[in-house]
């Protein structure tokens, strides 16, 4: 058998369009297993694409290096027999260099599969997760970020991806309007980015949060985002700022101490809950008195060996705190009254978890419930929707996360696209109020509109005529 022809970038097999599959044989010839090349020129409709260059489970297990524009500008490598997903830049050629494992494996049959990501409707309330981080090579190549996934909030099925959102570990959304605030922690640094519910950038706000990531939590009552800076000892103590739905940044409020693991504004707007000050493990939940500009008595005492990873303040003033001990995979949620009394405790399933911190998030049900986001070590993330009043489980599902792609999933992987196992997550309220499709119905005497999935019958706005007639 002759050697393969696509052994250089110049002779790469051209992928004409997506979705694309190919089985290439003859990669091994006369004692040599060759490196082979493929190339593809993305079009605008491609969005996020999934890459898979798979050999077989035992003998031929190639690695793949992905290049952009030419055969020298590398975006990164995909491990042996593994998968990846990347956003595309229209017209920017991607080269795929498929490198055999050592020892000239034979036989060598390459299974190539490049797919566009699914692109389904994402109903209001879908869970939305952006990527946690990005390789510098992508930024250098001109990427504005990575794909962010929408997850069905009933099934865990990944519905679609947005394109190129700046990655990071911070963010929250305003439950009433759907606006989202993310920290840009990789592309521009020290920028808070305020998006509409449909991810239109509304404001790009400069704020130096001193460390790698800020902490962002919505205040429902004030309709503002609270952004906590962990400070930087010994020069910069912890502080917080706020951003409103217009993108207006407040002046910093400098507090006392260093380090924050969670922050949230109180229901009465008189104080700010802060956890992790002076050391994350076993730290109390403190209460910063706004008027007195000082910490008062602790809101809740620290729990030995536990880190408070997240805080929520619910509509009724109750406070939800997430406790986590990584070494023992011990995770539980406490619901406190506004006075600090423990009302309920929810204990997460005892399974192995990754080192990635669990997170809390607001649900889209006017504070009846909240979400808990867990990172299992079986390549899946688990979302549990917990009822505030009795911590009973309302919804509970798993969804494949990024670690799924880091494991050889065999000949027939169940999933090709995953969301980040990052935190935090927000809910997408991407349908604007009253937007949609309507028709004019003859003899109908009111306007029926849709608002957040609910029909409303509205009076036809003020029909009138005005004449200039004044008479003789």
């Amino acid at each position: 058998m002759a050697p393969p022809t696509n052994t250089t970038s110049a002779t790469a097999i051209v992928i004409p369009s997506l979705d694309y599959t190919n089985i290439q044989t003859g990669i091994h010839d006369a004692g040599t297993t060759f490196t082979v090349w493929y190339r593809y020129t993305p079009v605008g409709a491609d969005g996020i694409i999934g890459l898979r260059f798979y050999g077989d489970p035992i003998v031929y297990k190639p690695n793949t290096e992905v290049f952009i524009d030419n055969d020298t500008t590398s975006l990164g490598s995909i491990g042996s027999n593994l998968m990846s997903q990347i956003p595309t830049l229209t017209g920017r050629i991607l080269f795929f260099k498929v490198i055999p494992n050592g020892g000239n494996p034979n036989p060598a049959t390459l299974n190539v599969s490049i797919l566009r990501a699914q692109n389904n409707l994402s109903p209001v309330g879908s869970i939305f997760i952006r990527a946690a981080s990005i390789l510098p090579s992508f930024i250098t190549a001109g990427y504005a970020g990575l794909g962010a996934g929408y997850i069905n909030d009933n099934t865990g099925i990944i519905l679609k991806f947005s394109e190129q959102l700046p990655p990071g570990e911070s963010g929250d959304y305003l439950p009433t309007t759907g606006e989202i605030l993310f920290g840009d922690e990789f592309i521009e640094f020290d920028r808070l980015k305020l998006y509409s519910s449909s991810l239109v950038l509304k404001a790009n706000i400069v704020y130096d949060w001193k460390q790698a990531t800020p902490i962002i939590r919505t205040s429902r009552e004030t309709k503002k985002f609270y952004i906590g800076s962990k400070g930087s000892a010994p020069t910069f103590p912890i502080e917080y700022v706020t951003v409103d739905s217009s993108g207006i940044l407040s002046s910093p409020v400098v507090m006392v101490g260093f380090g924050i693991t969670a922050i949230a504004n109180s229901h009465d707007n008189l104080s700010v809950y802060v956890a992790g000050v002076g050391g994350s493990v076993g730290a109390a939940i403190k209460k910063w008195n706004k008027a007195g500009a000082a910490f008062g008595a602790d809101f809740a005492a620290g729990v030995a060996n536990k880190i408070v990873q997240d805080l929520l303040v619910m509509k009724n003033g109750e406070v939800v705190a997430l406790y986590h001990e990584s070494a023992t995979d011990d995770i539980f949620v406490r619901v406190y009254s506004s006075a600090g009394a423990i009302l309920n405790t929810f204990t997460a399933p005892v399974v192995p978890y990754t080192f990635v911190s669990p997170r809390l998030g607001y649900a889209n049900d006017d504070s009846i419930s909240f979400w808990l986001f867990l990172h299992q070590s079986d390549t899946f993330s688990r979302f549990i929707n917990i009822k505030l009043s009795d911590v009973s489980i309302l919804r509970n599902f798993t969804t494949p996360d990024f670690s799924y792609l880091d494991v050889d999933q065999g000949v027939s992987p169940t999933f090709r696209f995953v969301t980040s196992d990052s935190c935090p997550f927000v809910l997408s309220l991407a349908v604007n109020k009253y937007s949609g499709l309507y028709f004019v119905e003859i003899d109908k005497t009111d306007d029926t509109v849709i608002d957040g999935g609910v029909e409303l019958d509205l009076k036809i706005p003020d029909p009138f005529i005005k004449t200039a007639f004044v008479g003789d």
Partner: protein
């Protein structure tokens, strides 16, 4: 009232916004909202209802078109974020069938039940003037109406392993040197240029033998057939495989996308159907702004690189656009073509303040000579009135949205403009926002609907007469914000809304 002389108003003739309020005739309104006309009177306009069920409702609607399939009417809906959905009924939605994040608007035409879609957006030039052109590095797409994703219209030629022709099999052929190639046929009937990169060459030495064509490449999944094409006998081959005329070989069809060899027999005299024109066709049609039809051809205007060019396909083959012969050039005045419309056997191209016509001379489009219709009046991007659901010509005029007003066009523009009564209101619309004005003409009820830049609507009732004097205007306002309209089921007005949160 004592000594008061009553005046009887027997007619209400709509909104008047031309000059001071004092000059408003007594049977007109200085202002009005949310009314519709009934014979001599007015009443509150009809109410809105939801077009979709709650479970399937789309939001953030930017553009809608009535997509007439061979099985009935439906909607193509562009939503914020650049996704197009196919709304088949109130409960059935396909898609998105196409997502291009940069797409904020699109052009559309339905031909033989297939939807052709071109993505575009609004840009701003150095003078701060908005204009529209096709997205850079984007293309025209074709959607089959079956819920599967739209794909790029046209298609690349076969590529890959060199084609091989071996004399011997088969039963007859003319002696001598011939060149062979393969043409793909897509699931929408498009014929690609010949391929692969290296054509087959073979010399027949026996008239009792044909050829075996092998290494026929397998195409992408949308390829349904392959066709063998061949030259006639070439006496002196100069090595330029593209420099000869190709013909479809009778019996040279490969009616699948899996077979890799085919035995063919033919005499040169049998080669009648020319395939050479396929070489010059776009393999990917660049995105533009306006899609329409003319004499059975598809017309595309205003690509990213050629804003004054319209491309015309081969008649009956909407995806086959010759890059050389299929070109029409509007006057190069630096302004993009905004619209195109067939009317009374003439293809009219519009710019913002210019109208030119082209007539089919039965030769290729590049030989058609433009004639100037008007150098002061043009149309906006969505500003050619669509009559019912047929595309604009079943009554003897077009309605044109021009900077100076709503114009009636019957081969020439008539004055005064239909919007003369509301001239001041019309002139208050920002010229940069005229692309937001979309016009629909319900010629059954004799009402013109217009979306406005402020996301309200204007209606014009011409049941008394289609004249500047008799037409009756009114404003409509909703709690929703209107971005786009269309008519379905003959005269049912569909409204798309994209309210922004506050």
């Amino acid at each position: 009232m004592r000594d008061h002389n009553s005046i009887l108003l027997e007619e209400f003739n709509g909104l008047w916004r031309n000059g001071d309020a004092e000059v408003c005739p007594i049977d007109h309104f200085t202002d009005c909202e949310n009314i519709q006309f009934i014979q001599s009177g007015v009443e509150t306009r009809d109410g809105l209802n939801l077009y979709q069920s709650l479970a399937t409702a789309l939001g953030n609607v930017l553009r809608i078109y009535n997509y007439v399939m061979q099985t009935g009417e439906s909607l193509l809906v562009l939503v914020e974020g650049g996704s197009i959905y196919h709304v088949v009924s109130s409960t059935v939605v396909h898609g998105p069938i196409l997502t291009i994040p940069a797409m904020t608007d699109f052009g559309f035409v339905a031909i033989a039940g297939r939807a052709f879609i071109t993505p575009f957006k609004t840009e701003t030039n150095a003078l701060g003037i908005n204009f529209q052109r096709g997205l850079q590095n984007e293309f025209v797409y074709v959607y089959k109406g079956d819920g599967t994703a739209a794909r790029k219209a046209a298609g690349p030629p076969p590529t890959g392993t060199a084609l091989v022709a071996t004399p011997g099999a088969g039963t007859f052929s003319d002696l001598g040197f011939h060149i062979f190639a393969v043409v793909y046929e897509t699931d929408t009937g498009y014929l690609t240029a010949p391929g692969p990169e290296v054509f087959a060459k073979a010399t027949s030495v026996l008239t009792t033998q044909g050829y075996t064509i092998s290494n026929i490449t397998i195409g992408p999944s949308n390829i349904t057939k392959r066709h063998i094409v061949a030259t006639k006998f070439i006496k002196d081959y100069n090595g330029d495989q593209d420099g000869f005329q190709f013909f479809f070989v009778p019996g040279g069809n490969v009616d699948d996308n899996t077979t890799t060899s085919k035995v063919i027999s033919f005499f040169d005299i049998d080669l009648l159907e020319d395939a050479s024109h396929l070489i010059d066709n776009f393999s990917s049609i660049p995105a533009g702004v306006r899609l329409t039809t003319y004499h059975g051809s598809m017309v595309l205007t205003t690509t990213f690189t050629d804003i004054s060019v319209a491309y015309v396909s081969h008649p009956g083959e909407p995806e086959a656009i010759d890059q050389v012969d299929g070109v029409l050039i509007a006057p190069l005045d630096g302004n993009p073509i905004t619209n195109a419309q067939e009317f009374r056997d003439v293809l009219y191209l519009f710019k913002k303040t210019r109208t030119v016509g082209f007539s089919d001379n039965q030769d290729v489009p590049s030989t058609w000579t433009p004639f100037v219709v008007d150098e002061g009046i043009g149309a906006s991007v969505h500003g050619v009135g669509t009559v019912l659901d047929s595309g604009g010509v079943n009554v003897d005029f077009l309605l044109i949205v021009d900077y100076s007003g709503l114009m009636l066009f019957n081969g020439a523009y008539t004055r005064p403009e239909l919007s003369w009564k509301i001239r001041d209101l019309w002139f208050s619309f920002a010229r940069n926002d005229f692309s937001k004005i979309q016009i629909m003409n319900d010629s059954l009820n004799q009402i013109i609907y217009l979306t406005l830049p402020d996301k309200k609507m204007l209606i014009a009732d011409y049941s008394n007469s289609m004249s500047a004097k008799q037409i009756r205007w009114a404003k409509w306002k909703f709690d929703i914000e209107v971005t786009t309209i269309t008519l379905v089921e003959t005269n049912k007005l569909i409204i798309g809304s994209n309210n922004q949160l506050v």
